[in-house]
Amino acid sequence: MRQNIVRNVSELPTYGYGPRSGPWWGAIGFMALEGMGFAIAIGAYLYLYAVNPNWPIGASPPDLWPGTAEVAIYLLSIIPNEMTNRAAHRQDLAKVRTGLIVMVMIGTALLVLRGFEFAHLNTRWDNSAYGSIVWLILGLHTTHLATDVGDTVVLAVLMFTRHAKPRRFSDVSDNVFYWNFVVLAWLPLYVLLDWVPRL
């Protein structure tokens, strides 16, 4: 078939931020399905809660401090996270590097704290269905946290090498976006794990 050029797109940029770029939509997709995974796990928790006369089963509720400390750190982490985002939009390499390092440190601290949280659940996974679902949910969110931290580490390393090309700033911005989801996902899980057993 004959072709008829009606438009030239050579002036378009080769990368973009947010909803203009492809990877951002990929991130949304993964958030949707991971979010669904969390929702299903929450549903399973509430189902077991509903069918059992005693809750928690044969255990006291988790100690509050590790989860609560995490909530505080998560919420505060939004500040350096947003600063990294702005630096990425300005393509300020020095600030982006600092921002990524800070975020790696925060993530690592949270992972350590997560260790304490497991230890303070006051139940083992094999004690009862209550213990099982609590460990499963915390395990899911920990996997989620660990992969995001791993991702941030790799990105940070990239930004210190010759791969720190302009379009990589868009990856940084997507990473920031994803972190906000990690934070957001934790809040309902915190209420569920730490407060529902105290009802």
Partner: protein, 635 residues
Amino acid sequence: MAAEPRELRDDVLNGLQLSTQLERVWRTPSGFLGALMSVDHKVVGRRYIVTAFVFLLLGGILAILMRIQLAGPEKTFLSADKYNQVFTMHGSTMMFLFAVPVMEAFAVYLVPLMVGTRNIAFPRLNAFSYWMFLFGGCFLWISFALNVGPDVGWFAYVPLSSLQYTPTKRPDVWAQMITFTEVAALAVSVEIVVTVFKQRAPGMTLDRIPLFVWAMLVTSFLVMFAMPSIMVASTSLILDRLVNTRFYDSSSGGHPLLWQHLFWFFGHPEVYIIFIPGTGMVSAILATFARRPVVGYPVVILSLIATGFLSFGLWVHHMFVTGLPQLGAGLFTASSMLIAVPSGLQIFCWLATLWDGRPVYRTPLLFVIGFVVIFVLGGLSGVMVASVPIDTQVHDTYFVVAHFHYVLIGGAVFPLIGAVYYWFPKIAGRMLSERLGRWNFWLAFIGFNVAFFPMHILGLIGMPRRVYTYTADMDWAHLNLLSSGGALIFALSFALLLVNVIYSLRKAELAGDNPWNASTLEWATSSPPPPQNFDRIPVVKHRDPLWADNESLPVVAGLSAERREVLLTSLAEAEPQIREASPEPSIWPLLTAIATTVFFIGSIFTPWAVLWGTPPMAVALIGWFWPTGSKEDEE
């Protein structure tokens, strides 16, 4: 060094020069290693389609084994034990390794072409998805061959599948196979969604998207919302069996019904995950062979979306006999019946299209008409089992077996075979034989009905499902023999399809770009399409671009001709926004899939696999994302 040369763009090249240059940039590297590195959606899609059909063949062989065993009373062809394995493998293979993957496979091949782009979004993820599917399927079948295949039904109900009742590794194999195939399916759905949202040709606004693409978009959302449920369910099952968690153990606060809820929250939408792509195929085929656009385009889209939503409200109808509260059962009966409405609307739109068009009855259209007939019958028996009093009567009888084969085979397999006849010329560059095609259709249609219609009656006169034999005094023998004969005829029709494909690949006439005079963009490029899909990205100004602009195709220029670039457009209006780099071929998706396989299989045997299995996966993922070898990073 002189001033940096300006990048080579496609606006300075023309005709053959342009094709050759783009082919060099986009082709899959040669050799065996090159084949393992391919990230071309057409290469991956073709592999996906062929692999899924191999699983259909395997699942079909098992079906025939079952029908031989059931052909007469008290046969000893299969033992009770083997029969359990065979029907479990049949159901699992058909649902997880054939029906869902084959639909995704067609989407992987067709959607990028139909929306007018050069590759799928996230091509490496796409390659990874295929390897995961392949390894998961091989894992299941190798286990079966080694006599550790699952034997607890394709839904693996607890407590039967719990350690206490099934202390072998069989249910673990089943549960882990689920995770393999779900990872693959989830990856493909994200790719499809992003391809449709961001990579549509300029001007392909939301109301100009081909109906097959709409169907795959809705399906992708269903996968994203339904499959996490089965993954949570099967992971919990493995944990119960391996590290003593108590999710399904009623002695420690767990609950067997939790399994059924999680399973059917996925399992019901699963049926629509199989059926909705089938309707997309039907719409594509109908428009072409009725030689007019499908009547009621917006109605069809709204029905697709409504079906998607409703399918989540229905899972409980699989559990009417588990003693749910009355009100709940009433509600679910109502919504189960409601879902017949959007399906009915679509069927009216299709009939109106035929009525109003000038239909040419070639093989693909025959399969579509077969689909309508069978699916309407399946829908009727579906409305019957959706009502509680009837369901309590026929639950777990052959009536249900008849019903779901009518829906699955009528709703998905018939459109699928039609789609094979329809798109084969595009994929292979040659036509399938029309004469064999007609034989294929009539054998399939007659064989299918002879095989499955008697099962309705068998169910009503009391034959339960999942029995490996029955006694002569039950009076079930004649109908069973009839059914087995039908199954053989049905199987023969697939053999004929295979013959047709093999014959046509070599001997048949060349297809040309657009042999059916169809209207959508995949027909605007050569058959089979070159690695770059299109030399220039088309611009869409009508819902049926090739019918409206049949003299010359409007296109854009200005993309790179020396590296892989795709054009990103805006979500609603498809306005060009970005020229985004598209990944180069890579071996890392395969290595990541291998590492993941070791991790998944290892964790059936020891929880420590989670520790030693993770580092290789991490290394492979870093290799995957590390930007070496990308032309852009080496500038």
